[in-house]
Every structure is written in structure tokens, then in C-alpha cells.
Symmetry: C2
Subunit: 214 residues, 2 copies
């Protein structure tokens, strides 16, 4: 059976879990404990030379890395329900919204980066939190502006069904809440996230619902 190597709190793994549940695909989960450093163990490095999660190993042995690449693969091989719109301009918008989170916000607030700040640079807890919240605010201000002024927005980031953009947004908001970021300035983001959370697929994919949730 297809196996997802992930961690309950990893936002990147969370994105893939949402995609799997939205498409109704069966999968096993194999937890890689990021706090214990298992991502740097030989087993995980053999699958994922970056020492990260998630990896998806399909039942025919294909090893896939990088959450957005995995989600696009799932969308190509199991097209329904679609995670990307049918038109090129719409796909470009959804990918741009997804990448705003995946390339501009999430990478800066990753566990390994926070560890470097504290360990190598001797950054204090307060300054670490300020860093975290700064990049969330930078990204969410831009995202809120785009979601508000662009005609493509609907009940979800693009139209009235969840797309790759929502798969990135919901885990990022989960993280922001965990770090007690003030989200009051982002009503459009909050409304979309509420719509997502009302769907069973998002509920099933939530960190607290995973077998390794601590």
C-alpha cells in the first residue's frame, strides 16, 4: 500500500495528507519523529536525501519527495476531485498562492531554521518568536490582499472547491495559531480556512488526528 512518511505536525506532510483524503486514496502512515531527529537517520535519508519529510512511497515502489511535487503527481494520476483549475491562468494563480506559502513563509519558519537561529546564532526565545511572526505577517498580508482583490477567490482560495492553495494555507494557519500569531487582520484567510476545516478531508488530515500525535 502507498505509504506516507511524515510527522503529524509537519506542514508539508499535512498538505499531502489533505490531498490524499480529498481524493479518497488509501494510504498507510509511517511516522518520522522530527523532534527526535529521525529525519536524519539512514532510513529516512535513503528515501529523502534532504533529511526532510514528507516522502510518499507508492505501491509500485516510486519514491516521491517535496510536498507540492507530490500533490501535483497525485492530481495528475488521480484527477478527481481536481486540485488545480482547468485553465492555465487559473492554474498559475493557484500555484502562485501555494508558492507564496511554500516558498516565502514556510521555509523561514521550519524547525531546522529555528534550531539554527537558537543554536548557531544564539537568538533568544523572544527574538525567535518575533522572527516567526514577522514572516507569517509578511506572507499573510500579501495573501490577504491577493485573496481580497482578485476575482478568482471564492469560498476557497480559488473558486468554490479546495485547490493546492488551500492545501498550503490550512497547515500554515495551523502553525501560526500554534505560535500565537495575531490573525485578526486576515478575515478573508480566516473565512477560507473555516470553510476548509468544515470538510472531512481537512479534518482527517489535521495534526491532532494522526497516529503519531503526541
Amino acid at each position: 500500500m502507498t505509504t506516507l512518511y511524515g510527522y503529524f505536525r509537519s506542514s508539508a506532510a499535512y498538505r499531502v495528507r489533505i490531498a490524499m483524503h480529498l481524493k479518497g486514496l488509501a494510504f498507510e502512515q509511517a511516522p518520522v519523529n522530527l523532534v527526535k531527529g529521525e529525519q536524519r537517520g539512514e532510513d529516512n535519508l535513503a528515501r529523502n536525501p534532504q533529511g526532510l519529510v514528507p516522502s510518499l512511497v507508492t505501491d509500485d515502489g516510486l519514491v516521491l519527495n517535496q510536498s507540492l511535487a507530490i500533490c501535483e503527481y497525485l492530481d495528475e494520476t488521480h484527477p478527481e476531485p481536481a486540485l488545480l483549475p482547468g485553465d492555465a491562468a487559473g492554474r498559475a494563480r493557484v500555484r502562485a498562492l501555494a508558492q507564496l506559502v511554500a516558498c516565502e513563509v514556510h521555509p523561514l519558519n521550519n524547525l531546522r531554521v529555528l534550531k539554527y537561529l537558537v543554536g548557531e546564532l544564539g537568538v533568544e526565545e523572544d527574538a525567535k518568536l518575533a522572527w516567526y511572526r514577522y514572516w507569517i505577517a509578511e506572507g499573510f498580508q500579501a495573501l490577504e490582499a491577493m485573496l481580497t482583490r482578485e476575482a478568482g477567490t471564492g469560498d476557497f482560495c480559488h473558486g468554490d472547491t479546495p485547490t493546492l492553495a488551500d492545501l498550503c494555507l490550512v497547515p500554515q494557519v495551523f502553525n501560526a495559531e500554534r505560535f500565537e500569531c495575531d490573525l485578526s487582520a486576515y478575515p478573508r484567510i480566516r473565512r477560507i480556512v473555516a470553510n476548509c476545516r468544515a470538510l472531512p478531508a481537512f479534518e482527517q488530515a489535521a495534526p491532532g488526528a494522526q497516529p503519531d500525535a503526541g
Copy 2:
């Protein structure tokens, strides 16, 4: 005419320039000077609420953001030569290699991040350089391992023609060289980059060949 709002040294703009030249598409360039802070000006924020570059504005007025989303749009609307392989597994591999650079290396070494380290966190020049080189080494070690052990690698990251992965790799290596990172441990990366640089499209897209090169 299609206009690329970018900056000669921006790796994200560089990726899009390579795609445009590979596909032989005509475009104008409108420089946004990142050192002068023009990306935060009203004009740029109207196109790109994140205050980043690049944006591509097509001749029918469509505004596209996020370099990988733009490159995929160009690939969908101008399929030849293809930036992604024809099979889903190949596309997943190319996107994963591209995202390794675009989601794990580049975001940490962006100008705005280096500014935060120095300005907000008071990081010294030496420690800033060490940060820069650390994330390059983390990413390139993984990339070198993948390119070496995976059968998909050819003269380029995937097969014998340039793909989205090479579009990300070449600008990242340009940056690494600028920051005097030691690349001797990455022979596979260096060979692929040399093959890319031998192509006119990569030469035309290089920072030094741009109208705003300082």
C-alpha cells in the same frame, strides 16, 4: 508586449528569463531595483503584493507572480521545448529537484532574509556568510546525492534537455559563486551547470547580460 518585471541579480527573475529564452519568446524587461527598495514601491506592490520580483505581465494584461508558477504557465501555453518531461513520475522528479532549490535553499538566502539577520538580529558579516553557505551546502549535498544516484539524471538534471530543475539550479549556483561557496564537493552539479551555460538561452538570461546589470 509581454513584460518581465525583475532584477538582474534576482534568482527568481533569472529562472523566468531562462524559460523565456529557451522557448524563444519575445519580452521586454522592466527593472525593479531591489537594492534601492523599488520592490516595496506602490507600482510594484500593485503587481506583486508580496513586494517581490519577478512578475510577468502578458500582452493581454494577465499579471503572473511566483517564478515557478510563471514557468509552468509558460510551459503550458508554449509547450515547445518542454520544461517538464512527458510522464507523471518524471514531472514529479523534476518538480522535486526544482523545489529543493526554490523551497529549501533560495528562501533562506534571499536579500530580505539577510537584511533581517543583520538589521533585526544584529548578526555579524561572518555569521551571515556562514548562514548563507550552510543552507547552500545543506541543499547542494542533497541535490548532488539525488543527481548521482537517480537514474533520471542525464546531461541535465533530468535527461538530456533542460527542465524546470535546471532553471532553478543555474541561478542558485550563480548566487553560490557570488558568495564564494566551495562547490568542489558537487561535481555532478558543476557538470550540469556547465552544460546549461553552454546553451545560448542560459547565456542570454545571465545576470551580467541584463540591461540593469550594474
